[in-house]
Symmetry: C2
Subunit: 339 residues, 2 copies
DNA sequence: GTTGGCACTCACCTGCTCTGAGTGCCAATA
DNA sequence: TATTGGCACTCAGAGCAGGTGAGTGCCAAC
C-alpha cells in the first residue's frame, strides 16, 4: 500500500518531471519540496511507488519517471483543480466576445485554447440534431445548376450545388422551393429529412425530377448534422513540446485523419468536474500511445453536447490544461447557449 | 563558364541528392549516370560548379550538395517537365469530380495535391471580386438576433450573425431584407458595398437602426471577398520528409499564420509554363529559409485567378512536384470555370 | 519509521585511434 | 586542350577506454 506521503512524492515527481523533462531523483525532491524527511526516506517511498508501477526508472542509476498508471492516479486524485488567473479569464471573454458567427466562434475558441495550453487544441462542431429547419433557399447559378442553402434555427448554414440534367425553368425552381420549404420549415432535422424522402412523389410530374434532385441535396445537407467536424489549431506546439521528432509524425497524421480523433472524442466520458483525460497507452489503439488528450463537453442547447480539448505529449501539465479546457468549455456553453 | 556537361553533372547531383539525401561524390555519379568519362573529369566539372556557387561541399572531404542557386538553375533550365502518369490524371478527375460544392472542391484539391506530392499542399480561396450578389437572406434566430446570409453568383455563401439592441418586428425584418436585396442583387461586390453604405439614410426612421445593423453585417461579408483564405493539408508529410525536427517548427508556425503564406503567394510570379518556384533563402524573410514553394495560378473566371501549390524542404523533387501542381491547377481551372 | 553511510551501477562526456569516402593536384596520354 | 590514372591529403564518423557523477539499494543505528 502506498502511504499518504508516498502519494505526495508521486505528485512531486509528476510536477518536477513535467517541468524539467528529466527523471527526478530523491535528492532533487527533498531540495525542492519541503517534505521534512531525508532523501533516504523518499527513496523508500519511491521503491514502493515503483512496486505499484506508478513510477519507473529508465535505467538502473537514474531518477524516476511517472508511468501512464502514475499519471492516471495523479489526474484522478492528486491534480490541483486551481482556477485560471483573472487575466486569462478576461482574455477568454474578450477574445470570444468579438465573434461574428458560429464558424468564427469555433475558430477563435480553438486558437485561444491552443495558446492557453501550448498544446494542440481541438473543437468539435456541435451536432445540432435538435435543431430545426428555419429556411431553405434555392438560387439559380447557371441554366442547369442550382445552389441549395439550408438555414437552421441554430444559426448554421449549409450549402450545396445541385446539377440538373436539363435546363430548369425559374418558375419551377420557385415552386420546388416553396414545396420543400412547406415540407421542412419548422421541423426538426430528422423529421425534415423523412418528409423530403417522399415529397417528390406528391408533386406534378413535370416538377418531380427537379424536386428529386433538390430534395436529395437537402437531405445530404441534413445528413451533415450527424457527421461531425473538427477544427484544430496549434500543431506547431507539437514540434516545440516534443523532444523526439519521429514521435510527432503519427500525431500529425492522426490530426489529418479527423475520423480517428472523432472516435476518440466519442469514447471519452467526462467526470464530475466536466473534464476527462485519456493518457498515453490508453490511446494505443489509435497509434497515439505517447499522447494524452484532455477533453470537456460543452453544451449548445438542452440535451445537445459537443466536445473540445487539447492533445499533447503524455508528459503534459495536466493541472493547468484541465483548468483551461474546463474554463473554455464553460464559457463556450454560455456563449452558444444564449441563442 | 560552366560547360554543357557541367550542367548535366549539376542535374545529376540534384537528382541523386534529392533521392538519397546524401552528398553526391564524383564516383557515384559515373556509376549511376552514363557520362562516358572518368571520375576525375567529373571532379574537374564539379570544381567549376563550385566556383560558380552552384554546389557546395558540406566539409572538405565529402560529396557535393546543390546550393539554392544550384536549385534555381535546375528549376529554370534543367528540370524535366514530364507529364503525370495517366493513372494520376485519372485519380485527379475521379476524386475532384465527386465534389458537391466549392468548399468540397477545394478541400478535395488540397488533399489530393498533398498525396500526389508527399508535401504540404496549399490552396487559396478564389477572391471572386468579379462576382455579383445573387441573393440576400435574413433569418430571425431570436428576438434580437438575426442571421444574414449572402449568396453570390459564384456559388459562395457567407453568413453572419447580427445582434440588435432591441427586439425586432418580423415585418420590419422583411422590409429591410427587401430594401437590401433591391440595393444589392445583381450588382458586383464593390458596387453592392457602396450602395449599402448610404442605404439606411433613405429609409423611414423606424427602420433605420435595423437597416444600419444589417447593412454593416452584409458589408462585412462583402469585405470577406477581398480577404483571402487558405486551406491546407499534409502537414504530416513535413515530419516524414524533414530529417531535423527543429526545422519543422518554424514551418508549422508559418502554416498557422496564414497571413505569411498569403503574402508569399502574392509575391510569386508564374512563368510561361504556369508554375513558379521559390527556393530556400528566397523565403528567408518569412523564416522559411530551408523551405521551397511551388505555386501555380488557377482561374475561376475571366480575369480572376487564385493560387495553389506545395511547400516542402528545399531538397524536394521539383520536377514531379511542378508537374503535379500544374496538372491540378489546370484541372481546377477547368472544373471551376464551367459555372 | 527514519536516517546516514557506503558500495555499486550506468549514462554520458572526453579524448583517442582507425577507417574510408572523397577531394585536389599533377604528370602522362590521346 | 581535354581527359585520365595515380597519389597524398583531409576529415566525419565509428569504435573503444577511462573518468565522472547522479542516483540507487541496502544495512545498521537511531
Amino acid at each position: 500500500m502506498v502511504s499518504e506521503r508516498g502519494l505526495d512524492v508521486l505528485k512531486a515527481i509528476v510536477h518536477d518531471y513535467v517541468a524539467s523533462r528529466e527523471p527526478v531523483g530523491s535528492k532533487t525532491i527533498v531540495e525542492r519540496h519541503a517534505f521534512g524527511v531525508s532523501a533516504a526516506t523518499i527513496r523508500n517511498d519511491m521503491a514502493l511507488l515503483e512496486e505499484e508501477e506508478l513510477i519507473v526508472a529508465p535505467h538502473t542509476s537514474s531518477g524516476r519517471v511517472p508511468t501512464d498508471k502514475g499519471y492516471r492516479l495523479f489526474v484522478d486524485q492528486l491534480a490541483d483543480r486551481r482556477p485560471l488567473s483573472s487575466a486569462q479569464r478576461l482574455a477568454i471573454e474578450q477574445f470570444l466576445g468579438e465573434s461574428v458567427d458560429l464558424d468564427d466562434v469555433l475558430s477563435r475558441t480553438v486558437r485561444l485554447l491552443s495558446q492557453l495550453t501550448n498544446q494542440v487544441a481541438l473543437v468539435q462542431y456541435p451536432s445540432f440534431t435538435n435543431a430545426s429547419v428555419r429556411h431553405v433557399e434555392l438560387v439559380t447559378l447557371a441554366p442547369s445548376r442550382l445552389l441549395a442553402v439550408l438555414i437552421t434555427d441554430s444559426g448554421r448554414v449549409e450549402q450545396r450545388i445541385v446539377e440538373t440534367v436539363t435546363a430548369v425553368d425559374p418558375s419551377d425552381v420557385e415552386r420546388v422551393k416553396t414545396a420543400i420549404g412547406d415540407a421542412t420549415v419548422g421541423r426538426s432535422i430528422a423529421d425534415a429529412a423523412a418528409a423530403l424522402e417522399s415529397l417528390p412523389d406528391g408533386l406534378d410530374v413535370p416538377l418531380r425530377q427537379l424536386a428529386r434532385f433538390v430534395a436529395d441535396a437537402v437531405i445530404g445537407q441534413l445528413g451533415h448534422y450527424r457527421q461531425d467536424r473538427l477544427v484544430l489549431a496549434g500543431s506547431a506546439n507539437l514540434a516545440r513540446t516534443e523532444d523526439d521528432f519521429r514521435s510527432i509524425f503519427p500525431v500529425l497524421e492522426a490530426l489529418e485523419q479527423q475520423v480517428v480523433l472523432l472516435r476518440l472524442f466519442g469514447e471519452m466520458q467526462s467526470d464530475a468536474f466536466g473534464v476527462s483525460a485519456r493518457i498515453g497507452r490508453e490511446n494505443a489503439a489509435y497509434g497515439l500511445s505517447e499522447t494524452s488528450l484532455v477533453v470537456s463537453d460543452y453544451t449548445t442547447a438542452p440535451g445537445e453536447t459537443a466536445r473540445l480539448g487539447v492533445l499533447g505529449p503524455t508528459r503534459m501539465d495536466y493541472s493547468s490544461n484541465m483548468a483551461a479546457v474546463r474554463a473554455v468549455a464553460r464559457y463556450l456553453t454560455r456563449l452558444l447557449g444564449e441563442s
